[in-house]
């Protein structure tokens, strides 16, 4: 039996063992330690299996079952392997983290651990699936388990329940769409294995129908605007390690679905597919980052930034499709690699960020940035992890986020040289969108880190924060390390990703740098760091020398214009930090503000109290979903008249149905 086969079996076995132990073990601590370790091991095997698949090794697992078509086939190919690695790596970190995080309360319950193990297994199996049934089976396993996990904390607040409801509805909707789309493909190619489907070379109306259905389905899972509404709620309300897994791994699988459709199943799609994808990607990126930049709930902020990153991935994928359709395969390849780089980098930094947010939540019980602050000295490890994650999320060097965004921009600006009207119009717009997104992301994460971890605590809980237990620290540091390493030596990763989608035009250069000969651009972070070191050295030497000669003196107070006290409440909060931006994008965000000024009884010229309230909803949700929901409600009320409990009436319904069928059949 081949290595890949062994790896797949090991994953299934270890996850199964975790489920069993979760049911058996009594104490929460023991459960956490045992199941966490097993899940981490299973994910570790997942990383190995995926790596083998990426390197070109093959192997298949057939699971026979009673129902037709008789068996499920798990056989990851190179592309699937990439996503197996990403998902498994994320799950590995999450499981280790959970050992420290999910050892008490509802997050440490039996249900929680069973669901986590199944969730992980399902996600690791989705990209390994080689045929329709296996894919859908793993997909549904993932969906159900994650729904259960979102619901874990339902005792805490009604918000959790509504979040779970939204999530369940949207995820099942996406499942149905995916089923429909894949069935169209299966029906028209006459096979249920992906290999045959991709050999089918569909085109025309059928292909477009399948593309639209699958695009909507996978897009919903990936949280593309306007199907993103479940994402900020679920990510915010789920336990943090679950949010991390959902945002960094599950959403990624939505993107995997899109890549699968556009690269393997339906290659050579027409250019309007590309334009559509670019449009939705651009919309998601802008809307997501706008919401993130004004959010003050740290997990909501991270959730919306997920929407933004998914938007960038979809944009990259779309431009690749568009470029391929307009006969520029080389640049199209670069864009595709950029998409995969975005996937990998987003997974790494977003898992780090969510784990950091969870650690903050664990230590302070606060999610609201307006009540945090000064956590840097109190939780150094968490602060480091979050800082590195923010660096990557803001696409600054040296981090994987920067590499990914750099590749994307290179692909876009060189794509514009294609002599095709549509391309020459789309690419500049795409560049503008990406640039604006990058700028806003910068502000967002300066806010997230600066308000949360710098300055002085804005609440007592923040002041009394303590660093989290060892497993959580290890997970965060590991994530941060991956972010930095991938940012330093992106070459090998880039080449591996390029090979996984059959792109030859990416090579390594210098000290593990990334070289894109097609677009004549190269990036060597290590060399850049060396230059930086050489340049910064004199400054450091001078600073140290001066520090010896002129030691610094510390005073009690920060400079507050001679004021007697500089209370923490005078600091800028996250809300006030984003206020100028809120004003600039007032039309797009449409916040509702109300200011109440109560005057003194003696005179209306003296103000007693001023109240300022600001509510920021999700425009899409309020404008698109609410009306639909109301309509559905009305239809439901109307439908109640059809059933009044009389058995005769129900029999009459079925009788009429029978007649209708007979008539229809005879026609």
């Amino acid at each position: 039996m081949s290595a890949v086969q062994a790896g797949l079996l090991a994953q299934a076995g270890l996850s199964g063992a975790a489920v069993v132990l979760a049911l058996v073990l009594g104490t929460a601590r023991a459960r956490a330690t045992a199941c966490g370790t097993l899940c981490a091991l299973s994910a570790g095997f997942g990383v190995l299996t995926g790596a083998l698949a990426v390197s070109g090794r093959t192997g298949a697992v057939l699971v026979s079952m009673a129902l037709p078509p008789g068996h499920l086939v798990l056989a990851p190919d190179r592309l699937g392997g990439v996503f197996v690695v990403v998902v498994s790596a994320v799950m590995c970190l999450v499981s280790v983290y959970a050992i420290g995080y999910a050892r008490t309360g509802s997050t440490g319950s039996r249900t929680s651990w069973v669901a986590l193990a199944l969730f992980g297994l399902g996600m690791q199996m989705v990209p390994a699936a080689a045929d329709l049934v296996a894919f859908l089976f793993a997909w549904e396993l993932m969906a159900v388990a994650s729904t259960a996990l979102v619901l874990i904390d339902q005792a805490r607040s009604p918000a959790v329940r509504s979040a779970a409801l939204w999530y369940a509805a949207m995820t099942q909707l996406s499942f149905l769409l995916v089923v429909a789309g894949l069935s169209v493909l299966a029906a028209s190619t006459g096979s249920d294995t992906f290999a045959v489907m991709s050999a089918g070379h569909l085109s025309g109306a059928t292909a477009s129908v399948a593309f639209v259905l699958l695009g909507l389905g996978f897009g919903t899972k990936a949280g593309v605007v306007p199907m993103h509404v479940w994402l900020p709620r679920a990510h915010a309300e789920a336990p943090s390690h679950v949010s991390a897994a959902m945002s960094a791994a599950m959403v990624t699988l939505g993107v995997y679905g899109l890549v699968l459709v556009c690269v393997r199943l339906l290659p050579a799609g027409p250019s309007w597919w590309g334009v559509t994808l670019v449009a939705f990607g651009a919309l998601s990126a802008l809307y997501g980052i706008l919401q993130a930049s004004v959010a003050s709930d740290i997990k909501r902020l991270l959730a919306y930034s997920t929407t933004e990153n998914v938007g960038l991935m979809v944009l990259a994928l779309g431009s690749s499709v568009l470029l391929r359709a307009s006969h520029a395969p080389a640049v199209a390849g670069v864009a595709l690699v950029a998409c995969l780089l975005l996937v990998v980098s987003h997974a790494t930094f977003k898992v780090t960020l969510f784990l950091g947010a969870g650690s903050v939540l664990h230590a302070t019980g606060e999610r609201d940035l307006d009540r945090l602050g000064g956590l840097g000295p109190r939780m150094p490890v968490t602060a480091t992890g979050f800082a590195v994650g923010s660096l990557a999320a803001a696409a600054l060097p040296v981090s994987c986020g920067f590499v990914a965004e750099w590749t994307l921009l290179q692909a876009l600006i060189h794509g514009a040289r294609v002599q095709d009207r549509l391309v020459t119009v789309v690419m500049p717009l795409a560049v503008a969108v990406v640039a604006l997104t990058a700028g806003l992301a910068l502000l967002t994460f300066v806010k997230a880190f600066g308000i949360g971890f710098l300055a002085r605590p804005r609440s007592d809980t923040a002041a009394g924060a303590r660093e989290s237990p060892a497993p959580m620290r290890v997970a965060m540091l590991a994530g941060a390390a991956v972010v930095v390493v991938l940012g330093l030596v992106p070459g090998p990763l880039g080449v591996a990703l390029a090979r996984s989608v059959g792109v030859r035009s990416v090579t390594t250069v210098g000290l593990g740098g990334l070289d894109l000969p097609v677009v004549g651009a190269l990036l060597d972070p290590v060399a850049l760091c060396l230059v930086a070191g050489v340049v910064a050295l004199p400054v450091l030497v001078a600073s140290l020398a001066l520090a010896r000669r002129h030691p610094s003196r510390s005073t009690v107070l920060a400079w507050g214009n001679g004021g007697a006290r500089v209370s923490p409440r005078m600091q800028y909060t996250a809300t006030s930090y984003a206020e100028p931006l809120m004003r600039v994008f007032d039309d797009a965000l449409q916040p509702s503000r109300d200011v109440q000024v109560t005057h003194l009884a003696e005179s209306r010229y003296l103000v007693e109290r001023v109240e300022y309230r600001q509510h920021l909803g999700d425009v899409v949700e309020e404008r698109v979903y609410r009306p639909v929901i109301r309509l559905a409600g009305r239809v439901g009320m109307a439908a109640r008249h059809l059933q009044n409990g009389s058995i005769h009436r129900y029999l009459a319904y079925s009788f009429l149905a029978l007649i209708a069928v007979l008539v229809a059949a005879s026609l």
Binding site: L442, L443, F449, V535, A536, A558, M570, E579
Partner: protein, 315 residues
């Protein structure tokens, strides 16, 4: 090749570091003269630096390592940019070409460092300055990228050195409407990014009108010195880049001593002309209301975008 590039980078580092304070001195001098004052002289910024370095810093309790690190980061980032940009000579380093996106992200590293410094002070003014600073930076970035993208279209590369070289070989590129529009847009964002009028008033004493000053209120002695020097070098580098885009003549394309000398001299002249022009312009300007600034930046963005579109319209 690589040796030559290294020499060029080193020369630029030294020259820009030496010229930046003089440039600021010149700008203050021009302003003083146009106000009927004598002015403190070209060397004043250098005197200020020397004095600041000889003082003992004051740091409030509870201030984190950011207070010490941020100034060094800003200075380092500005220095790297000064070394990478095609100022004296358009000779890209072998493994670190002055790719536009790399340069911008390095500048942003400095920006972020200062923004965090402002937040770390934990005072109302620091946060205010940081917030405004980041808002401006967020709106500036798209314009920078799109504008240089427009400049890169006729050249076919986002490497600034190649862009400057192309303009050197084909001066007709400079007069082309595309590059004119793009350069105007770039000029606006350079002014915004370096905190000059009408976006920010570098000489203000009124905290509520501050952007950049408000973030450094808490820094003293050598921290302040690094911050000042860093932002001066940033100003000089960006002005130098503008100069080389507008008038690339004199930029050396190799590391031959003579051509380097010529490059240094022409760079000095360009900096002097642009600096004097900038501060003369500032005399006639009032600071914009903070919430009119986004309008200005949007305008510059639209100009940059038009430049890109125009590059396909106007052959």
């Amino acid at each position: 090749m690589s040796a030559a590039a290294a020499v060029v980078a080193l020369v630029q580092l030294v020259v820009v570091t030496a010229l930046a304070p003089l440039l600021v001195g010149l700008m203050r001098q021009v302003r003083a003269r146009s106000e009927g004052r004598v002015g403190a002289g070209l060397m004043q910024p250098w005197r200020d630096l020397r004095k600041l370095l000889a003082k003992d810093p004051v740091r409030a309790e509870g201030a984190s390592w950011i207070l010490v690190a941020a100034p060094v980061v800003l200075l380092a980032s500005s220095l790297i940019v000064a070394a990478l940009l095609p100022l004296v000579a358009a000779v890209p380093l072998p493994l670190v070409p002055n790719d536009l996106f790399v340069v911008v992200s390095l500048l942003l590293l400095g920006t972020v460092a200062v923004a965090l410094l402002g937040l770390d002070s934990g005072t109302a003014f620091g946060g205010m300055g940081s917030s405004r600073h980041m808002t401006v930076a967020a709106l500036v970035e798209p314009t920078v990228l799109v504008a240089v993208y427009a400049l890169s279209v006729p050249v076919g590369s986002s490497t600034l050195a190649l862009i400057v070289r192309a303009r050197l070989q084909a001066p007709s590129l400079i007069a082309a409407p595309v590059s004119l529009i793009a350069v105007i847009a770039l000029a606006i964002v350079v002014i915004a990014e370096t905190g000059r009028l009408p976006v920010d008033n570098p000489a203000t004493h009124l905290e509520l009108t501050m952007i950049h000053e408000a973030m450094v209120l808490e820094s003293s002695a050598r921290d302040l010195a690094w911050l000042e020097l860093g932002s001066w070098i940033r100003l000089a580098s960006l002005l130098g880049l503008m100069g080389n885009l507008l008038a690339p003549w004199g930029v050396s394309t190799g590391a031959a001593p003579l051509s380097l000398v010529v490059g240094v001299v022409t760079l000095t002249v360009k900096l002097a002309v642009l600096g004097a022009g900038l501060s003369l312009g500032e005399v006639f300007m009032a600071k914009l209301r903070l919430f009119r600034v986004p309008e200005l930046l949007a305008g510059s963005f639209v100009l940059a975008f038009l430049a890109v579109t125009a590059s396909y319209l106007l052959a």
